[in-house]
């Protein structure tokens, strides 16, 4: 084949993808998981790589799952809020360390403080996909039955903690 045709062929393929892409909505992720059971997962822990953690370990508890990464700038924005929330000791926070290098993740927590009960490593982002994560940070509030009750896309602010998360946690704690 004539090698000078190659650029045109590559472009034609690209064009086909772009055309399909037009009809897709990148913000529409198979996510609105609120009200549905949290996806099952089992992952190694960040600080104890030999130990595993599974969603079942939190059965019967109201807890937060916070997706974070050391490369994520917006996570720095929300991190102090999480640290304060952890100090208040009202709801356990589990960190999902998303597509990160374990060393960098640990160093990051050392630098900024570790609000998490524990963090698990989602190195290839597979669990993130199950949770419909399309940007870091994201935070999920999960109830005693393992059902997602609230989802925050983007950084958690103090406002969100006080007006949404805390009242909901109190209400969910009352349920059996």
């Amino acid at each position: 084949m004539n090698k000078f045709v190659i650029p045109l062929a590559v472009f034609a393929i690209l064009l086909a993808f772009l055309f399909v892409g037009l009809s897709l909505n990148p913000r529409e992720v198979p996510s609105p998981l609120v009200g549905k059971a949290a996806p099952a997962f089992q992952l190694a822990q960040l600080h104890k790589p030999d130990a595993a953690f599974s969603h079942k370990d939190m059965a019967g508890k109201v807890w937060l799952l916070n997706v974070w990464a050391s490369w994520c700038v917006a996570c720095r924005e929300e991190h102090p809020v999480l640290v304060d929330l952890a100090k208040a000791n009202v709801v356990p926070i589990v960190g999902l360390n998303y597509k990160d290098k374990p060393d960098e993740g640990r160093a990051w927590l050392k630098q900024f403080g570790d609000p998490y009960l524990l963090s698990v490593m989602d190195r290839d982002g597979r669990v993130g996909i199950d949770f419909g994560v399309y940007g870091v940070p994201e935070t999920f509030l999960i109830d005693k039955q393992g059902v997602i009750r609230f989802k925050q896309i983007g950084p958690v602010t103090r406002d969100v903690v006080n007006k949404k998360i805390l009242p909901l946690v109190r209400e969910l704690e009352k349920q059996s």
Binding site: F4, F11, L18, L22, R27, W71, K99, I129, V133, G135
Partner: protein
């Protein structure tokens, strides 16, 4: 009335662009002189009408004409005047009009500075640019009219996005667009050469200054955008590998390759079809970037309001322009033939490697940017590609490129010898490695990455020094006279290369030595970061023209002496109720001190971020040097001399 005038001017501009895009091209193909002669007046007329339209839009913004939808959504009576002007390109519609204005400006510049070019060439170049202009004017008039009316008029405007209310935002988009659109000139020259079947050294010499000019604007535009993100987003980062950033970076990478490849085509006649392909690619990637930003295909912090109709239009336009030019390339390029031969080791081969590396870098950035889209389109799931991918892929490609940057300018054309190169560069290499190993030790922290980064930077500096020393050795006179004897294009190249070195110093030192402290501070608390001590003196309320907010007082001292007070702010813009962080930055040649306010904690305490960023300004300083180098290269005598000589020749022939 004024908006309607603007709209009418746009329609007239479109008609003139159609004339400019058809008759001159047909005339050049059939040899009709009168048709070709239409190119210049049509281009200049188009510019006048686009400028009128742009003036009408700015006027509507200045007059707070909220019966214009675009003004009502992007301005406010209390918006400061400078930002009202800037707001005219703050929206999708307005920025398109700016794009078209830039396009018309480049076209007029070509029509004015092309007196020495053959008629067919001018007609073809302006014709191709006219066709591109037709596409954008149609796009604007059919899907994104900046003059759409709103009835009944809004009583008050929604205000410009607070993120855009910043001096950097006033100049960043015009610079970036000048760069994007500027590549249309190189593109038009390439298409004209393919149409005419004459791809020779003269063609490369005509294209070079235009390409370099566009590249300079793009460099400045990207640097301004990065600087703006650094001080305005309040996170202290300077590059996020966001799809929109990548969209501007891709044409820059290919444009850089194009500049180097044009040099070979001009000097040695080689790489012809490759150079043409790069010229087509650089502009194609500018268009692709426009598509990605405005169609909503990828999510991004910069995304404009999206509309599927727009996406379909730009995609159709892309397929016509890029598909058409690549088809023309596939048809014509095989007949171009090969240029001068060169050995496996020569300046040509160094530049070839440069081109390959830059193209691979651009390819991997493009892949990372579009990968989520590919998977989604194939129904393989949703993923996001973050900075880890780009960092892992990009640096290993850039390192050999920077190494070549030292060798290339010293290697001989056609054939270079390894022992000779080693003999000439061994001291530079030794100095670079030595300094790379030693400096981090003196700075107090040694890691392999810092040492490697600094060694690369010192390598660029040392090799540039060797290059100058060898260049001036054979000239007579004092040092100053011998240096002045070198052409400006040489100094341009050298300064641009040194700029890359300066950039690497900035990136390496910031990555290696920055300190970031996020902490809760009560009034009177102090924190020490690096050599500086910061005291938080509380927060006062402030009221701005279109915002209210809190302003912190942070006293900075060094060795017990007070240096200055910084005032980070947290603002709420009234019209959109949007909170904004205004970091206070003390900028210095050897580092920035960066303080920003987080959220209020109970009892007058705030969460405060204090960053020390050593050498961070070198990142943008390096970019500025690269652009300065480009500007120097354009001002080289030989472009003016040959221009004069050629016009003299054509005048003689005419006589």
């Amino acid at each position: 009335m004024i908006p309607e005038l603007g709209q009418f001017a746009l329609i007239l501009a479109l008609l003139l662009a159609v004339v400019q895009g058809t008759f001159p091209l047909a005339g050049a193909a059939r040899g009709v002189r009168e048709w070709m002669a239409l190119a210049k007046p049509a281009a200049q007329g188009q510019f006048v009408f686009v400028a009128i339209a742009f003036g009408c839009l700015v006027w509507s913004f200045l007059q707070d004409d909220f019966s214009v939808l675009n003004v009502a959504t992007n301005s406010n009576t209390r918006l400061p005047t400078a930002y009202k002007v800037a707001a005219s390109w703050g929206s999708h519609e307005g920025s398109l009009l700016l794009w078209v204005l830039m396009m018309a400006t480049w076209t007029v510049a070509v029509s004015l500075f092309s007196r020495h070019l053959p008629n067919e060439m001018v007609a073809r170049v302006l014709g191709v640019m006219g066709l591109v202009s037709v596409g954008f004017l149609l796009f604007m008039l059919l899907t994104s009219n900046p003059f759409d009316r709103l009835f009944p008029p809004a009583p008050e405007g929604r205000d410009l996005n607070p993120l855009l209310q910043d001096p950097g935002m006033v100049i960043h988009p015009p610079m970036l667009y000048m760069g994007y659109v500027g590549f249309s000139v190189a593109f038009a020259f390439a298409i004209a050469a393919l149409l005419g079947g004459k791809l020779d050294a003269t063609w490369a010499r005509w294209s070079r200054p235009w390409t370099t000019a566009a590249w300079c604007f793009l460099t400045i535009g990207i640097a301004l955008g990065s600087w703006w993100a650094y001080y305005e987003l309040g996170w202290g980062g300077w590059w996020f590998w966001d799809p929109v950033e990548n969209a501007s970076f891709l044409p820059w990478l290919i444009g850089t390759a194009l500049i180097h490849s044009l040099a070979v085509t001009e000097k040695r006649g080689s790489f012809k079809s490759w150079t043409v392909l790069l010229a087509i690619s650089a502009f194609s990637l500018s268009l692709l970037g426009t598509f990605l930003v405005r169609s909503g295909v990828l999510t991004s912090v910069h995304a404009f309001a999206t509309d599927p109709k727009r996406g379909v239009f730009i995609l159709a336009f892309l397929s016509v322009v890029i598909g058409g030019s690549l088809a023309l390339f596939a048809w014509r390029a095989p007949k171009v033939g090969l240029g001068g031969r060169f050995d496996a080791l020569s300046r040509e081969s160094a530049l070839l490697a440069n081109n390959v590396l830059l193209a691979v870098a651009a390819g991997s950035v493009l892949l990372g940017t579009l990968y989520p889209l590919f998977l989604d389109a194939l129904n393989l799931g949703k993923i996001s590609v973050g900075p880890p991918y780009f960092d892992a892929v990009f640096a290993p490609i850039m390192a050999p490129l920077v190494f070549l940057m030292g060798v290339g300018p010293i290697a001989r054309w056609k054939k270079a010898e390894v022992p000779d190169l080693v003999a000439r560069l061994k001291w530079a290499l030794g100095a670079a490695i030595g300094a790379g190993l030693a400096v981090p030790f003196l700075a107090g922290k040694w890691t392999p990455m810092i040492a490697f980064g600094l060694a690369l930077a010192f390598w660029v500096f040392a090799a540039s020094f060797v290059s100058v020393k060898e260049r001036i050795r054979n000239f007579r006179g004092g040092l100053a006279a011998r240096m002045a004897a070198q052409p400006r294009s040489y100094w341009g190249m050298l300064i641009a290369h040194v700029g890359v070195g300066v950039f690497i110093v900035g990136v390496t030192v910031v990555k290696g030595y920055e300190t970031e402290r996020d902490l809760r501070m009560d009034v009177g608390d102090t924190v020490t970061v690096g050599a500086h001590t910061f005291r938080f003196d509380g927060v006062r309320d402030v009221v701005g023209p279109n915002y209210r907010g809190a302003r912190g007082d942070v006293t900075v001292s060094r060795d017990g002496k007070v240096i200055e007070t910084l005032h980070p702010e947290k603002r709420i813009y009234t019209a959109q109720q949007m909170p904004m962080t205004e970091a206070a930055i003390d900028t210095g040649l050897f580092g920035d001190i960066y303080v920003s306010l987080g959220e209020p904690v109970d009892g007058g305490a705030w969460s405060v971020r204090v960053y020390a960023k050593p050498f961070v300004t070198w990142i943008w300083g390096g970019c500025f040097l690269m652009a300065l180098g480009g500007a120097l290269a354009i001002s080289d005598r030989r472009y003016r001399v040959t221009a004069r000589r050629e016009s003299a020749v054509s005048a003689n022939q005419a006589a």
